[in-house]
């Protein structure tokens, strides 16, 4: 690869943003070079400047940002000083970009086939007469089954993975020399992620294209890149061929990042940085927990949703003759049964749409089941309507940590008010000072500095918001806490700290966890047992280690195989 000519060369790039609080240097003195046919990964956590670097290369920084220093050369063209008309020509035809959210990148009210045609015609790759044919061909190349039919599909009719394929088809339609993929698989399931990344690599290799993969996931970068550039706080801390970087990382930050990435054969405590002292209370209570009475028993749980527009008279009338009448209900959860014992952590794993969130909402009593029983500590709580359950004393025994720490905090509330809310409503603690004292105690337990308690949620970082959410969930000393992907929105190093915090809290407060996640690697770290769901049914259930090392069903094997593993 080293002998190939350099396609893109970024030298000493510094990007500045003018903000209300003065100039912020988002990227400082960054050097990156991409050879022809090479795949380069830019890895870093949020705020590391990895996306800004790629925007500078495309010269699509927003008006507050400017390239302050350095040179960007793309196959002989000086990107920094090139006229806008030349850049417009370059973008799309020579350099293409894939964005994180494929649905947002597609026009929601235009058929995907037409959107591909637009790009082809815009860049004179097709004439109106053969555009349709070429668009279908482009869809076929990204391995979309039945491309002639999908040509007429609107983005909302396609799954996330399919949409990303269409975006890739758009990006590759004009045979660019460089593809910039900005977190192309974040938000997609692991199996879809694998399929999409395999496709990108295969297509770019086929055409001798260069690729820049921007990601926070070291495993992904290791699996698909020739060279990896690690960025931290706007600076490149390490750049090396990916094999070397994983074998002998030079920089402390790279090592920290690698340490905190969940991977096979690693304990939860191993994720923490080296300089962090091991937690005092290492309580292994798995054996003690197993012989205890079940806390939660779910039996034959069903949730059905009516299908829209299938059963109505108009729908009957307009149905095509050869179309089979669909059943008019959709079963999101299809008769599942499991139990959680006191002090146990159970993982509920599956891809998006498998019904794991619906299950957790029903157990949480935020959603009424269609059928089945939810027995909590001997009482059938499934029979109590969700609206009434909110006011019962039992409410405080089941709590939840939500997926998105930002969305789950009221933007108009301070942290202390968010934590105080359940205390004021459901506990015996009364009086301003007492509630405040309890909030401070909780903040101490979750490691939230007290001076942050009076801040609003937008003044807190992602990890701090996650702590507020956890403090709120444990405020009432619940017996069962449902964790709905509590770390999905966090950086890996923050995820490592939060997972350890959850483990410590569980040990010290004696709670049971139902951990809902799509990531088997994360679930493995925290859970004693794991349940794998697919299409509303449980496909596999067992002790975590057994399921991970010796999966019984093909689906679990597929899930495990799709997780990219950094070669450590």
């Amino acid at each position: 690869m080293t002998s190939a000519p350099i396609l893109l060369d970024v030298q000493n790039l510094t990007v500045e943003f003018m903000t209300r609080r003065g100039v912020v240097r988002a990227v400082q003195q960054v050097n990156v070079s991409v050879a022809k046919g090479e795949t380069v990964g830019i890895v870093g956590e949020s705020g590391s400047g990895k996306s800004v670097t790629s925007y500078a290369v495309m010269r699509i920084l927003d008006r507050a940002g400017r390239i302050a220093e350095g040179a960007i050369t793309f196959s002989g063209i000086d990107v920094r000083d090139a006229p806008e008309s030349e850049m417009r020509d370059l973008r799309g035809r020579e350099i293409s970009m894939i964005f994180q959210n494929p649905r947002a990148a597609l026009n929601p009210i235009r058929k995907v086939g037409h959107q591909i045609e637009d790009v082809l015609i815009e860049h004179v790759q097709a004439s109106p007469s053969d555009a349709r044919e070429k668009a279908i061909e482009a869809l076929r190349r990204v391995r979309i089954a039945r491309p002639e039919e999908r040509y007429h599909a609107y983005p909302f009719e396609l799954s996330g993975g399919m949409c990303q394929r269409v975006v890739i088809a758009l990006a590759l339609a004009c045979q660019p020399q460089l593809l910039i993929a900005d977190e192309p698989t974040t938000g997609l399931d692991v199996t879809t992620q694998k399929a999409v990344m395999d496709l990108v690599v295969e297509l770019t290799r086929e055409r001798g294209m260069s690729t820049i993969l921007i990601t926070h996931d070291l495993g992904l970068a290791a699996a698909y890149c020739d060279k990896v550039v690690v960025m931290e706080k706007g600076k490149v801390v390490e750049a090396a061929p990916s094999r070397d970087i994983f074998k002998s990382p030079q920089h402390a930050y790279t090592r920290k990042l690698m340490r905190s990435t969940p991977r096979i054969g690693v304990d939860l405590r191993d994720l923490l940085p080296e300089d962090m002292p091991p937690p005092a209370a290492q309580v292994a209570s798995i054996d003690a927990a197993t012989d205890k009475a079940p806390l939660l028993v779910v039996s034959n749980l069903v949730k059905e949703y009516p299908r829209q527009g299938v059963s109505g008279m108009m729908a009957q009338f307009f149905r095509r003759k050869n179309e089979l009448p669909q059943s008019d209900v959709f079963r999101a959860v299809d008769g599942i049964s499991f139990e959680i014992r006191k002090g146990e952590s159970v993982g509920l794993v599956g891809e998006s749409g498998c019904g794991k969130s619906t299950t957790s909402m029903m157990v949480m009593r935020l959603l009424d089941p269609t059928g089945g029983m939810i027995t909590f500590d001997g009482d059938d709580i499934g029979a109590i309507p969700a609206k009434e359950f909110a006011k019962l004393p039992k409410r405080k025994r089941i709590q939840m940590v939500f997926q998105d720490p930002t969305d789950s905090l009221n933007p108009r509330f301070t942290a202390v008010r968010a934590i105080a809310d359940p205390i004021m409503r459901l506990s015996d603690i009364r009086g301003r000072a007492a509630v405040r004292a309890r909030c401070e105690e909780l903040a101490g337990q979750v490691g939230l500095p007290e001076d942050l308690l009076d801040r609003f949620s937008h003044q807190l970082s992602g990890g701090q918001k996650a702590r507020v959410g956890i403090a709120r969930a444990v405020a009432l000393n619940p017996e069962l806490v449902i964790l709905d992907e509590p770390t999905a929105a966090l950086d890996v190093s923050v995820q490592a700290v939060v997972l350890n915090l959850l483990q410590d809290l569980k040990a010290s407060l004696g709670m049971s966890y139902l951990f809902v996640s799509h990531d088997l690697n994360v679930v493995r770290l925290l859970c004693d047992r794991v349940i794998v769901m697919r299409a509303g049914k449980i496909v596999e259930e067992g002790l975590t280690e057994e399921v991970m090392s010796d999966p019984k069903t093909g689906y679990t094997r597929e899930l495990l195989a799709a997780i990219p593993h950094p070669p450590l």
Binding site: R25, S408, L409, N410, A418, G463, V494, L501
Partner: protein
């Protein structure tokens, strides 16, 4: 395809505390930057968009006239003097005099209070009624939504000014009824804004979290949803304020509501209109100008407030 980086989030690297018990190293710096004083924020907004500053200045002048009008008016607004009727603007009468010899400048200043009061009370009334029913419709959905929605649609189905005329004519020709009529015709606007804002937050994480904390649905509506809908409603208030003034003046113009000789911009324009043909333009012009500036001021203020409230415009 243009996902632009938000400079603030892209640029400020958030340092996570390595130890759960340690404060983040970046905390002190962030505290001073984030706890920006209100004055500094206001100054930033005004320098970023000078028009908002101008609008705010105009608002202060209008508010001053409304409060202190009777004291700052150079003449008695009701005192007629047939000897000096229909005089053109001069040093003695800056805005001239009308057909009864009353000083137009004084009448324009004194009228501010009445016009502003009608607008403020009608907007406050519709803010409470429309805002609450809209938020309830958006949050509860179902029958609440259907009923509130249909009521709003029914009001929208009429030409609004004609509806206001009808209400005042039916209820009786008083200032209170102008306030009620103005509130009713603005009702659909408030309902729609509040409904949309509440609806997107219906299943938000913090609402679910509030349910887990033992809050009932009404409590969630009042303590969780309403504070989030407020900012956009305040913008709506400012925007409809201009419309309310215009509506009140319009009703007076056609002879409903306020009656002469009470100084009111709409009546003054109506009275002056007859004299424009004969060349006495100032009788209708100055109250009309005051009306226009007031409406203009509130619309600009609304736009400025929207910029302040919209977090995407905050950089």
């Amino acid at each position: 395809m243009n996902r632009r980086p938000n400079p603030e989030t892209a640029a400020i690297a958030v340092t996570e505390p390595p130890l759960p018990t340690l404060a983040p190293p970046a905390a002190p710096a962030r505290t001073s930057a984030q706890h920006m004083s209100f004055l500094a924020h206001a100054r930033y907004v005004i320098t970023d968009n000078p028009v908002t500053g101008i609008a705010f200045g105009m608002f202060l002048v209008i508010a001053f006239c409304a409060i202190f009008g009777p004291w700052i008016a150079p003449h008695d607004p009701l005192a007629s003097n047939t000897g000096s009727a229909l005089q053109a603007p001069s040093l003695r009468h800056w805005f001239g005099t009308d057909q009864l010899g009353r000083d137009i400048l004084s009448r324009v200043i004194v009228a501010t209070r009445l016009d502003l009061a009608i607008a403020v009370f009608s907007v406050a009334l519709v803010f409470v009624l429309g805002g609450l029913s809209g938020v309830a419709a958006g949050f509860f959905g179902g029958w609440t939504d259907r009923i509130v929605g249909r009521v709003a649609d029914t009001i929208m189905a009429f030409p609004l000014f004609v509806l206001a005329m009808g209400i005042v004519a039916a209820l009786g020709n008083t200032v209170t009824n102008i306030v009620i009529a103005t509130a009713i015709i603005n009702f659909p606007l408030y309902v729609r804004v509040a409904r949309a804002e509440a609806n997107v937050r219906r299943e938000a994480g913090f609402v679910q979290a509030a349910r887990l904390s033992g809050n009932g649905e009404y409590r969630i509506l009042l303590t969780q949803i309403l504070p989030n809908v407020m900012p956009i409603m305040v913008v709506q208030m400012s925007l409809t304020m201009g419309y309310a003034i215009l509506n009140a003046a319009g009703l007076s113009f056609i002879g409903l509501g306020v009656r002469p000789p009470t100084p009111e911009w709409g009546i003054m324009v109506a009275e002056g209109a007859a004299f424009i043909v004969s060349g006495e333009w100032w009788i209708a012009f100055f109250p009309g100008l005051a009306l226009m500036l007031a409406v203009f001021c509130f619309n600009l203020l609304g736009d400025g407030l929207r910029d302040i409230v919209d977090p995407q415009r905050r950089t």
